[in-house]
């Protein structure tokens, strides 16, 4: 066994060029390159593509995915998965709306909604820890429950008519002449920079890589893995709630149908961005590039008008291609 490892390590030493860069650098770099090439090709055919207003549209359309991908990245780094975000997202849009309609001041409504997202995340982790089931099943159960709850508390019809001040989170912005740069973009940017920085540099946050990379050794290092996972899923739930609040503000309405298949789009983006579903690898930068790439594909196809419906095919093919590429790299190196 150890001899086999020795042999693999020797092959790794022989792999030369590939070894000079970390797997993460290669994957994120490759993705960045793909984005640039794709952007150039589209730009040559549709000169509006890289115009500021269109870039703004891309951002706004995929803001929820981008915010939720922040939490999903950390969840996947710890070798977990969180399907429930697609339930928390509409749920929190509805909750914040109902609270405001019930007369709660905007800050109170928002804080309560964020707390609700965190609680759902804690429940996910509790079920998964306590009953020792894979987070896939635990969060699937919660997703299904929330989807039903969303319909029940709204009666199936949209919630709307929020106070004017609420518009600041998803609608209002800086007039750039020709388009509005929404404040929500800054919320995302701030969160992304913060989580990205913490995940890279903070002692506690970095433990997620240890937990995902070698759970046994994490336990041996005295890390309370179960409690850590509670934190991670609470974070994921809270971020999904942030996205829900923004979308409620953006449309000035909350609908239970928000977020169909959102969980799968987010997971796809995170995996394209280099995260490993087996845990231990992933980065905020990679995930954000993953979301950007998907946003560009959707935008480009929407613009082209010829083949509007190819976007899903391309996204799926991208996912498979990036996985195959990652596996090939891993095998060459290991």
């Amino acid at each position: 066994m150890q001899d086999a490892q020795a042999m693999r390590a020797k092959q790794a030493a022989d792999a030369g060029l590939l070894r000079r860069f970390s797997l993460e650098t290669l994957q994120v770099g490759g993705l960045a390159l793909a984005i640039v090439v794709f952007a150039i090709v589209v730009q040559l055919n549709f000169p509006v593509f890289l115009s500021l207003p269109n870039i703004n549209v891309m951002f706004v359309n995929f803001l929820p995915e981008a915010i939720i991908a922040l939490g999903m990245t950390i969840v996947i780094i710890t070798a977990g998965i969180d399907l429930s975000v697609a339930g928390i997202y509409p749920f929190s849009a509805i909750v914040v709306g109902l609270l405001m309609l019930a007369g709660a001041p905007i800050p109170v409504a928002i804080l309560l909604t964020l707390a609700a997202g965190a609680v759902v995340g804690a429940v996910n982790a509790f079920i998964s820890n306590k009953f020792r089931v894979h987070p896939f099943i635990a969060t699937l159960a919660i997703l299904l429950i929330l989807r039903g709850v969303n319909i029940i508390i709204t009666g199936g019809s949209p919630v709307s008519g929020f106070p004017e001040g609420f518009a600041i989170f998803g609608q209002a912005g800086i007039d750039m002449g020709g388009f509005t740069l929404r404040y929500s973009v800054f919320i995302w940017l701030g969160l992304a920079l913060l989580t990205g920085y913490l995940l890279r540099h903070h002692r506690f946050w970095r433990l997620s890589y240890f937990i995902g990379g070698n759970r046994r050794s994490a336990r041996m290092s005295g890390i309370n893995v179960e409690r850590y996972l509670v934190f991670v899923y609470m974070l994921s739930g809270t971020l999904a709630a942030v996205a829900g609040i923004i979308v409620a503000s953006q449309f000035n309405a909350a609908n239970n149908s928000y977020g169909q298949n959102l969980e799968l789009r987010v997971i796809t983006a995170v995996v394209i961005g280099g995260a490993d579903l087996n845990g231990g690898a992933g980065s905020i930068l990679g995930s954000m590039l993953g979301v950007l790439f998907i946003a560009m594909i959707y935008n480009a196809f929407a613009m082209s008008g010829i083949s509007t419906y190819w976007q899903d095919v391309v996204v799926g093919a991208m996912l498979l291609a990036s996985i195959l590429l990652g596996e090939a790299l891993k095998r060459r190196r290991a």
């Binding site: 150890q2 001899d3 020795a6 042999m7 540099h201 002692r203 433990l207 070698n214 290092s221």
Partner: protein, 494 residues
């Protein structure tokens, strides 16, 4: 001054299996104390107790005369006892420095890691022990040997007063061993107490100040290298009474069943050649990691080999998968019944017939349950598996009965050659005798049997001939009067 670490009258059993009995042991500051013993003598269990992995049933741990009771590895380390395990505790996807200082990283304000200091600390640590390892490289990019050294550096970084190394050289190259011994000499000079667990006697005699020998869970002797010799240590290690519980040896025919020629798969094994005759039990002895299992798995098609040839009853084979091997009549009884052998949550019946389902299919692949039940019942009877209810899940059986089920599974495939890897690991004496008898019966019925075992008495008591492996090569093939414990051990360790 009290010894740095003292272990007093430790007892430990796993279930009904007694692993340690009244074991006492001490290591002084600035001393390298080697702990030797055969595979399964209890060395690792003892160190797991000291390191906080296992609980002891009775006895005391004293650190500089103070009673301690570490709850886990982390606590033991904070107390000053660092165990370097055989199994690495590193995470390959993170850098060397991060691995060493996980949870203890130097931080700036708000818990932000101070990378410069972190890497500088790691660099200083490596300078201190005199190795050239980059703190910023991913651990996974280093060989297992270097990883072992990183693991040791991590142990040292806790400012440990006692460092316990469990087979630290098993994955190291010659030059890495030299480097490790240099590190050990430095630590010794700094007054660190070192427990060095190994069964490579050459190394032990090179580095140790004192040698303690553990046999069957009991401390059987402590001596100084200058006052002893490898032969004496070997005698202490194997000095078990040679019981006559083994079945009488059989009559080995001339017909060769399995012929292995120059089988190689560097760096795991080289130029392995031997033949297995009809009716013979061929023992394979050697230390863990000597390449015995690897050769058996290669013959079975579970792993590949680079060169050489294998022939069964004169027919040259080109086996690429276990399925083909089983079809040809070569069956492998795996050393790890829980991970690679049995289907624990399934019934005994399902396990017993699993390798032989092909014999019980009718038209369109429909299984004939009646015949399966009959076969399973016969196998239960023949191998004396208890309780005699083959619809119970294997989970619910004792270790001995699980092992008998594994043997029954292999036998139901009607092997011409059986490769039994540690066929009696972790089973009680009663089950052991039954399994030995079953293997001998099999040989008497004309099957060629290979027994790989780390228990010398078993290899000796059971085998008609013994092959000794050392570091991936055959170091001796012993027959007749040449088979003795000391002789086998000599070829295995020197």
């Amino acid at each position: 001054m009290p010894p740095a670490l003292e272990v007093k009258e430790i007892n430990k059993s796993f279930g009904s299996h007694r692993v340690l009995h009244e074991v006492s042991f001490a290591v002084e500051a600035g001393e390298v104390h080697a702990l030797v013993g055969e595979n399964g003598a209890g060395k690792s269990t003892l160190m797991n107790i000291v390191g906080g992995i296992h609980n002891r049933d009775a006895g005391e741990l004293l650190l500089k005369g103070q009673a301690i009771d570490p709850a886990d590895v982390w606590q033991a380390r904070q107390l000053g006892i660092s165990v370097v395990f055989q199994e690495l505790s590193l995470t390959p996807n993170m850098t060397v420095a991060q691995n060493i200082f996980v949870r203890r990283e130097p931080t700036k304000a708000l818990g932000m890691i101070d990378w410069q200091r972190l890497n500088a600390d790691a660099r200083a640590l490596f300078e201190q022990i005199g190795v050239d390892i980059s703190p910023t490289e991913l651990v996974g990019n280093y060989s297992v040997g270097i990883q072992q050294i990183i693991e040791i550096a991590k142990a040292i970084s806790f400012e440990a007063e006692v460092i316990i190394m469990d087979e630290p050289t098993s994955a190291l190259s010659e030059s890495e061993v030299d480097r490790l011994f240099g590190i050990i000499a430095d630590l010794k000079a700094q007054g660190v107490a070192i427990v060095f667990i190994s069964h490579k006697l050459g190394e032990v005699f090179r580095i140790a100040d004192r040698i303690s020998v553990l046999r069957d869970g009991e401390m059987v002797g402590a001596t100084k290298p200058a006052e002893s010799s490898p032969d004496e240590i070997i005698r202490l290690m194997v000095g078990r009474s040679f019981d006559d519980l083994y079945p009488p040896k059989g009559v080995v025919g001339d017909e060769v069943i399995l012929e292995v020629r120059e089988l190689s798969h560097p760096p795991l094994f080289h130029d392995i050649s031997f033949s297995l005759r009809k009716g013979e039990i061929l023992g394979i002895a050697g230390l863990v990691g000597a390449g015995r299992t690897e050769v058996a798995r290669a013959i079975f098609g579970a792993d590949s080999y680079s060169s050489g040839s294998i022939a069964l009853a004169g027919e040259r084979l080109d086996i690429k998968s276990p399925r083909e091997a089983i079809e040809k009549g070569i069956v492998y009884l795996t050393e790890d019944r829980k991970v690679m052998g049995l289907f624990l949550s399934m019934t005994m019946r399902e396990n017993i017939v699993s390798a032989a389902l092909g014999r019980f299919v009718g038209a369109l692949g429909i299984l004939q349950h009646k015949e399966i039940a009959a076969e399973s019942g016969r196998a239960m009877q023949r191998n004396d598996i208890r309780p005699r209810d083959d619809l119970l899940s294997v989970n619910s059986l004792s270790g001995g009965n699980q092992q008998k089920s594994l043997l029954a599974k292999c036998l139901s495939a009607n092997p011409k050659a059986l490769l039994a890897d540690e066929p009696t690991r972790g089973v009680d004496v009663g089950a052991k005798v039954k399994i030995h008898q079953a293997l001998r019966d099999l040989a008497n019925h004309g099957v060629g049997v290979i027994v790989i075992s780390s228990e010398l008495p078993e290899v000796l008591g059971l085998s008609d001939r013994v092959i000794v492996f050392r570091e991936g090569r055959i170091s001796a093939i012993l027959a007749g009067d040449n088979i003795s414990q000391a002789e086998v051990m000599r070829h295995a360790v020197q």
